[in-house]
Symmetry: C2
């Protein structure tokens, strides 16, 4: 595995490569060339080879790539051959939604606890997990060696929760709060802005409508 800094664009494509390789494996396909992969996944063959060669030469000239072998390499690159212990902070609507969803994600990602400030919710069960007191979060993360904190609290509390999680020693934060948070350099951060995603969809819907109207005048084909 090489050492140069990998661009975000490449990292974001890796899970997608993996998904297609899993599908191919299911279908019993054993080898694939970058050209075949290209027509399947929609990236250029050149880009596929370029991307993979950031991490090593996984192919074989004249043959292509082993589907299973490449999938295993990507698993290792992404760290999906490891176990991750996670906590969810916030058991409101968002927290319930994410707890529910996260249970459906396959692989070594396990929810060890759900935490909440609101005393009325503490003690309740959520998806088979007891909701615990947010005050105990630091102890829990330390003792249970939690790797990932999932932030599902409101905008106002998100940074404070992140600070606490980082202090307690998590290695990554997955945040669904509608705000941009900051973490120390040694903690990985992935923020999902679902409402931003819906807003860009709205943009594209309106954009299509507009350019559609325009095209009817100038350019019927395409």
């Amino acid at each position: 595995m090489k050492n140069a800094k990998i661009s975000n664009a490449v990292i974001n494509r890796l899970p997608r490569y993996r998904r297609y390789l899993l599908e191919l494996q299911k279908k019993g396909v054993e080898k694939i060339s970058s050209k075949e992969f290209s027509s399947l996944i929609g990236y250029t063959a050149s880009q596929i080879r370029q991307d993979l060669n950031n991490f090593g030469g996984f192919g074989q000239q004249g043959y292509g790539y082993s589907v299973e072998g490449l999938r295993e390499e990507i698993d290792a690159i992404l760290g999906l051959d490891k176990e991750y212990r996670m906590v969810i902070i916030g058991a409101g609507n968002l927290g319930q939604a994410i707890t529910k969803y996260t249970q459906t994600i396959k692989g070594g990602f396990k929810i060890s606890g759900v935490f909440e400030k609101n005393k009325e919710l503490i003690g309740n069960m959520l998806e088979g997990i007891e909701i615990m007191d947010y005050e105990d979060i630091v102890d829990f993360v330390e003792k249970e060696k939690i790797d990932i904190g999932i932030i599902c609290v409101n905008r106002e509390s998100a940074q404070e929760v992140a600070d606490k999680l980082c202090f307690a020693g998590v290695k990554g934060i997955w945040s669904f709060a509608r705000v941009d948070i900051e973490v120390p350099k040694h903690v990985a951060l992935e923020v999902v802005h679902l409402s931003d995603s819906l807003h860009t969809l709205a943009y594209r819907m309106n954009d299509i409508k507009k350019s559609g109207t325009r095209k009817n005048k100038e350019d019927k084909k395409e």
Copy 2:
């Protein structure tokens, strides 16, 4: 408003500009220069001006941008000054999670119905909405003039659901299925791959660990 094709990078930044402008408005800030905005949001002042000028000249030389004015412009660009009628397809874990979450998104996005194939779930209530029979989806979308279909079914059914929604006339699809789907050019598509997001977080966690080790040898500062 100008006409050239706007790049995805720009479109994806628009909701973020909007979030910061909303915060500023809340705080009672009336004007902001691209330089001040830059140190707040973390994009270069140049990029901010460049981005905004894709859509029009919203600022004033020697003064800056009106916070409220700019936010209203961005609302209009994104189409957030309109109402959107949405349906959710799939009332399983994922569908329940997304229904729950989507209820918390502010603005003109309204869920008109939840649809499900599994007869056992049909008739149940979900977040105050009755779960309806998937067989009736086309009629419902046509009659209720639904704008957006939210796909929360499994990988295997996602494309079929998308086809049906497009046939029935939705203008946009927001998909959470773990698969890449295709839609006609006149339909906007936004796919959220939550598990991909978690996988890139895993990558970054492991990457930090590795480069951390490396740095301890060569380069303690930074």
